[in-house]
């Protein structure tokens, strides 16, 4: 080819731009404005449109602007490379930058490391240096990055719903403050985040306006737990549960491993589930709950009991413990608690109490944090009696001053005493308890200022709505649950002009400082630093946190009188026969409704119900029979005047006289994702009945409502011994020496040895990737699913497509209910993460007609999207059904118009959503099969790094052991998933795969999986009445885990 000077013609201004129209419909002013602020040196000169995902990546060093393809340039479209004019510090095009930050939550800050590519955060990981989470995170932290880019976030200051600006707002703010010199008539309502800067500013504000009112409201917060601790140990005391110290844990209506715990509890519990042999000191978990929760799933003994009977249970338990310990005081307290019914299994309580007492000092009783204060206080008293204080429970000083409650604030409002109300975060109009009548009360205030990240129900009723900055956009700080001070660094400038609550408070307090200064000043205060503390600050920023010595545990004694009084004052909860209690459960996804517009969370199946895009009335099979309903039938719940129609979802293991509904759904003022999703049950919740409401009647309506449940079938069908292998501690001890005990269960116990006619082509890379999943510590929380979604650019498909069975999650957490006799009332629950097993003999490969999926030498089943023509044959031939097909163009089309004729409907994704995409993973188009790749982009980056490091040194390039991991393994709060190089003897996976508990799924198919599951161990108390049922999920049918173990132990010698 000869060289040809190619003169691209001038691009016409109105030229048709059809080459890759990814974002061109989204040439919104916001986006342009954002780019202007983010890249003041250059990028604003580029047209904001046509920024493709990888194009964006090149922004820093080489921004790309695509131009329309005109006829004269039919050879190839003109694309520009647009570098900065001046180099930007730290910026290397194509390389990720990591910043330590923190996600503020009501349980304290979640220390994070944020991955950013060219100025846009794409992925969130836990801070590996921080002792609380050690690099792990949870579902909400993983999803928060999508919230940042939500194109429907609040963007403008609104005055009475009309677009306004900060200048007018500030003017009005001055007006409000001018009227009240001492703060009378000024009130603040804040959410439950524990931020040192906010506390500091609060004091400043209250110093300036001493008569101002400060109230806190967190719908799913632990205020009752705090209150119980205050009763038991005095004001300002908070209880810290040390699950890592507990041999025996009893939870009563407390989902401590799920939504009612925090990452510290989960990690503490999981630490005691990491077992290397039958002699390991594994904890034992007793769970009393009304519905299956993640905690119940992990239990060794579970008692299903209506939430309103928890008090009765604790009363019985306390009485037993008192009997054993001879603690007269506890006996009195137990007797003092008023309960109506006594339907408690005596034997269960007796043996449970005996076990707790036998492990005195190493036992922990946890009551539900929304149970009445009296019940919680009684539980604390039991703990004290069990010698838990200072061992399994610790006390710490509260980091926040006491505040008024929302009810008290509403009272003030109704009196007309409040002129200016500042609501910082939260959405009380939607989620305040019904008896507070908040919307009505709020309307009494002269001016209501609402600061929030989205325009919600409260904004609609406020005079001023101010957009809040996302936590990734501005300087914040938090206390982590261990009391350490964690700094939240911004990783991107506010996309939509949001400000922080601190900025607003500072303004009110008359402090003019930017958010960084506000935080730095707090830091100086917290660390008591004087003089030049920039070195400490720099280190704190780098590490992300500052260990705070003042957070040490404190000591206190049980306040006998207060507890007696609280218990005596508490009314009895009654649940009449034939009536139901309605239990308000915290949703594992949308929380109190705040995440309703987050598509990842809406589509994430609930870990227990597997329900997406909805909430439902959970009830037991027996209750469903009684009402004559099945899953999907709409029932009417009524309590006096209040009525509610909601679809039923039959959940095995639910208490029969109880109906549970998750709060946080049925939002009305919300973006398009969360609109008309689920039913709002907050109108049933009152300040008194925070947890449950008794005397609810339920009726079948005869209507049906389609529920999008990702797992249609929850029974194991006698395959437990094949799929989810389990053994009790006793069975394991009996087979401690039998290497094949867990390997020869189910069909593998009698299938002949595998052999092949062929020799496997060599997998001769120096690396070999593998994964181990410890079912004994996996709690099934589904954080891995969200992490995978964030890492691998997995689209959401919408409710309709989930109903059609087309969800795209590369990995799922299978949840089974199983029991030996098929007893749906008392089943065991097992969770099992399921991802591509990366079979060495992958059945999916040979059936692909175009070689789109083949094997790599390092043992991965790789998938070349661009080669795939989409026959779906591979998915059919996958025994684990982990392949996912793009039935529609989810990345190009809104989930609401998938069925509109392609040629006439809109294409494209909002730019901001594209900005979240991981630039190292292809965004797949429709008609393409995809699946878990073991995060091959991370594998490749690691291998490339090793090769670059080796360069010309002659050293064999080799990725160091455990130097990186997959997204699911990285996020896993219990570290149940371990990924690594099986060829490297130093790696954790190389050891784990040799574990006695290790087995591979469907071994008899000779697929040679690269994922090893470590069998679950149940640790039942042999004296308990239900001990014999432990591990029943892997019994039944052909495969009796235990008995086959014995058979194979005899065969073991021959093998």
């Amino acid at each position: 080819m000869s060289k040809r000077i190619f003169q691209h013609p001038e691009e016409p201004q109105t030229g048709k731009r059809y080459w890759r129209s990814l974002g061109q419909l989204q040439d919104t002013p916001e986006f342009r404005q954002w780019m202007h602020r983010e890249f003041p040196q250059g990028a604003s000169e580029i047209d904001g449109n046509d920024v493709s995902r990888r194009g964006f990546l090149q922004f820093m060093g080489a921004s790309v602007a695509l131009a329309g393809l005109s006829l004269a340039s039919c050879r190839r479209p003109l694309k520009n490379l647009v570098p900065f004019t001046k180099a930007v510090e730290w910026s290397v095009p194509g390389k990720a930058l990591f910043f330590a930050s923190v996600m503020p939550t009501r349980n304290g800050g979640m220390p994070l490391v944020v991955t950013t590519f060219d100025g846009r955060p794409t992925k969130i990981e836990g801070n590996p240096l921080h002792p609380v989470n050690k690099g792990t995170t949870d579902v909400w932290a993983q999803s928060s990055v999508l919230d940042l880019y939500d194109p429907q976030r609040s963007k403008d200051v609104l005055s009475l719903g009309k677009k306004s600006d900060f200048v007018s707002f500030e003017k009005d703010l001055e007006e409000i403050l001018k009227t009240s010199a001492d703060g009378s008539g000024v009130a603040f309502l804040v959410d439950g985040i524990v931020s040192p800067t906010r506390e500091r500013l609060r004091r400043k504000v209250l110093a300036k306006y001493p008569k101002a009112m400060w109230a806190t409201y967190e719908p799913n917060g632990n205020d009752l737990e705090v209150a119980a601790a205050a009763v038991a140990f005095g004001n300002g005391h908070e209880v810290v549960n040390r699950l890592d110290q507990a041999d025996i844990v009893l939870t009563v209506d407390r989902d401590i491993l799920g939504v009612e715990g925090d990452i510290a509890s989960v990690r503490g519990f999981a630490a005691r589930r990491k077992v290397d042999g039958p002699k390991a000191n594994m904890n034992r978990l007793y769970v009393v709950e009304n519905r299956y929760t993640l905690t119940g799933g992990m239990s060794d003994h579970r008692l299903r009991l209506a939430a309103s009977r928890s008090g009765a249970f604790l009363k019985a338990l306390a009485a037993q413990v008192a009997k054993l310990s001879g603690d007269q005081f506890l006996a009195t307290l137990a007797a003092g608690l008023k309960v109506v019914d006594t339907k408690i299994k005596d034997k269960w309580v007796e043996e449970c109490a005996a076990d707790l007492w036998a492990h005195k000092g190493k036992a922990l009783v946890l009551a539900g944090n929304k149970q009445p204060v009296a019940v919680q206080a009684l539980a604390l008293a039991v703990n004290v009696s069990l010698g838990a204080l200072g061992k399994t429970i610790e006390l710490k000083k509260s980091a926040v001053d006491a505040s008024a409650s929302i009810a008290e604030l509403a009272e003030e409002l109704r009196k007309g005493a409040v002129k200016g109300l500042f609501i910082l975060g939260g959405n009380p109009v939607y989620n305040a308890p019904a008896d507070v009548h908040w919307a009505e009360a709020q309307a009494k205030a002269k001016t209501v200022v609402h600061l929030s990240i989205d325009q919600n129900e409260t904004s609609a009723k406020a005079h001023w709505h101010v957009p809040a900055a996302h936590y990734l956009e501005q300087w914040e700080d938090c206390y982590a649950s261990d009391g350490s001070y964690v700094v939240g660094q911004p990783v991107i400038l506010p996309l939509y002009n949001g400000i922080t609550g601190n900025e607003l408070l500072a303004k009110i307090a008359g402090i003019s400082a930017d958010p960084l200064t506000l935080v730095r000043d707090t830091f100086a205060e917290v660390t008591s630093a004087s003089g030049d503390y920039s070195a400490v600050w720099a280190k704190t920023l780098k590490n992300g946190f500052f260990s705070n010595a003042s957070a040490k545990s404190i000591e206190a004694a049980l306040r006998v009188d207060a507890v007696t009084k609280a218990i005596g004052d508490s009314p009895a909860a009654s649940l009449a026969d034939g009536q139901f209690e309605l239990v308000f459960i915290t949703d594992s996804k949308v929380d109190d409704g705040r995440y309703a517009n987050n598509g990842w969370l809406q589509e994430l199946p609930d870990p227990v119900t597997k329900l997406t895009w909805d909430n439902a009335a959970l009830l037991s099979p027996a209750a469903a029979r009684k009402l004559g309903v099945d899953t999907g039938d709409v029932i009417r719940l009524s309590m006096g005047e209040k009525k509610l129609e909601i679809a039923a979802l039959v959940l095995p293991g639910h208490a029969d006289d109880s109906i549970s509904v998750a709060v946080g759904y049925g939002r009305t003022e919300v973006g398009s994702v969360g609109k008309s999703v689920g039913v709002n049950v907050f109108p049933f919740q009152t300040t008194v009945d925070r947890r449950f409401l008794t005397g609810v009647s339920a009726l079948k309506t005869g209507r049906r409502h389609a529920l999008a449940i990702t797992q249609e079938h929850g029974a194991l069908e006698g395959r437990g011994a094949d799929i989810t292998r389990q053994a009790t501690t006793q069975e394991w001890s009996e087979n401690a020496e039998n290497k094949d005990f867990f390997k020869k269960m189910g069909i593998d116990a009698h299938a002949p040895a595998n052999f092949s006619l062929y020799t496997h082509p060599p997998l001769d890379d120096v690396h070999g990737w593998g994964m181990a999943v410890d079912l004994n510590s996996c709690i099934g929380c589904a954080a891995c699913m969200t992490a995978c979604q964030a890492e691998n650019n997995i689209p959401i498909v919408g409710k309709e497509q989930v109903i059609n069975g087309r969800e795209m999650h590369w990995m799922r957490t299978d949840r089974y209910f199983a029991s030996e006799g098929g007893d749906a009332d008392e089943p065991e629950m097992v969770s099992q993460p399921m991802m591509c097993q990366q079979c060495e003999n992958a059945p999916c490969e040979t059936v692909c007609p175009v070689n789109a999926t083949v094997h790599s030498e390092d043992g991965l089943n790789v998938m070349a999207y661009n080669r795939c023509i989409g026959t779906r044959y591979c998915a059919n031939n996958c025994p684990f059904k982990v392949r996912r097909f793009n039935f529609f163009d989810y990345n190009q089309r809104s989930i609401t118009n998938l069925y509109r004729w392609n040629l006439i409907s809109e294409k494209g994704t909002p730019d901001s959503i594209q900005m979240q995409k991981n630039p190292n993973v292809t965004v797949r188009m429709r008609g393409v099969m995809e699946k878990c790749t073991f995060c091959v982009q991370r594998v490749q980056e690691a291998k490339i790094a090793a090769k670059v490091k080796s360069s010309d040194s002659g050293v064999q390039p080799r990725v160091p052991a455990d130097s990186f991991t997959s997204a699911c393994a990285q996020v896993c709060p219990t570290e149940a998933i371990v990924f690594g190089d099986i060829r490297n003897p130093e790696s954790r996976i190389a050891k784990l795969k040799e574990d006695q508990r290790g087995y591979r799924l469907l071994e008899y198919l000779n697929t040679e999986n690269r994922v090893w599951y470590l069998a679950r161990i149940r640790n039942p108390n042999p004296k308990m009445p239900d001990a014999a049922r432990a591990g029943s999920a892997s019994k039944g049918g052909h495969g009796h885990g235990g008995s086959h173990g014995h058979t194979s132990s005899q065969n073991g010698g021959h093998a």
């Binding site: 000077i5 190619f6 003169q7 490379l81 004019t85 890379d765 790599s856 993973v921």
Partner: protein, 218 residues
């Protein structure tokens, strides 16, 4: 009854078949030749906003590639230099040259220079510069003799088959890492490229992905 068809019609089917064969062959050959990256990409030489000559800078002046493309050894991307880099020299040298006007304008206004992209990796291909240049793959292997180009053009086809020629046979292309940016490098006397390459492959444990699709497609 008479013949339906005239005598000449006897040859007609063969003529038609012959024509179709010629046409089909021509179309196939045309597709083969023209719809091929060898034709589609090679030789693409758009005119740039600044008539920057690699021939002068990299050739005559002997500047190292990495002076401007500074992150090529660390990043997947070989960056385009910022205006600042140009100005490092051109604030002193050739200040009055009218060809440099866009650079000065950019520097003054802060507006970047919009270079026209020549080498474009498809969205589903993940090419990593640093792993190549650190393992003895020279710039010249993919970009041609840029040091002899007044205006840069697409020198190689960058098709997957083209990539594979090296991935399958790296010894045909490797050179000492120190010579990667030396576009005029020739194997030293008495040695062939293949000998040098084979020795390097062996010594450095070079093992580029060939069967591993995920090496380039993630």
């Amino acid at each position: 009854m008479a013949n339906i068809f005239p005598r000449w019609s006897n040859w007609l089917p063969f003529k038609i078949i012959f024509c179709l064969l010629i046409l089909g062959g021509g179309v196939s050959a045309g597709v083969w030749y023209y719809l091929n990256p060898e034709y589609m990409r090679v030789g693409y030489q758009p005119s740039q906003p600044v008539p920057f000559s690699h021939k002068i800078h990299a050739g005559q002046l002997g500047m190292d590639c990495r002076y401007c493309h500074s992150f090529v050894e660390t990043s997947a991307y070989s960056n385009i230099p910022t205006t600042q880099v140009c100005m490092n020299c051109h604030s002193q040298i050739q200040r009055e040259n009218p060809k440099l006007q866009p650079v000065h304008d950019s520097w003054k206004s802060g507006k970047p220079i919009e270079w026209v992209q020549i080498h474009k990796t498809p969205e589903h291909v993940y090419f990593h510069h640093s792993v190549h240049v650190n393992r003895g793959v020279s710039c010249v292997s993919c970009h041609g003799k840029v040091n002899e180009m007044d205006e840069v053009y697409h020198a190689e086809s960058h098709s997957m088959a083209w990539c594979l020629t090296c991935h399958r046979n790296p010894s045909e292309f490797l050179r000492p890492v120190s010579e990667v940016t030396n576009l005029d490098w020739k194997p030293s006397e008495g040695k062939t490229q293949r000998e040098i390459g084979a020795a390097l492959v062996n010594e450095w444990h070079v093992n580029p992905p060939v069967k591993n699709c995920a090496g380039c497609h993630r």
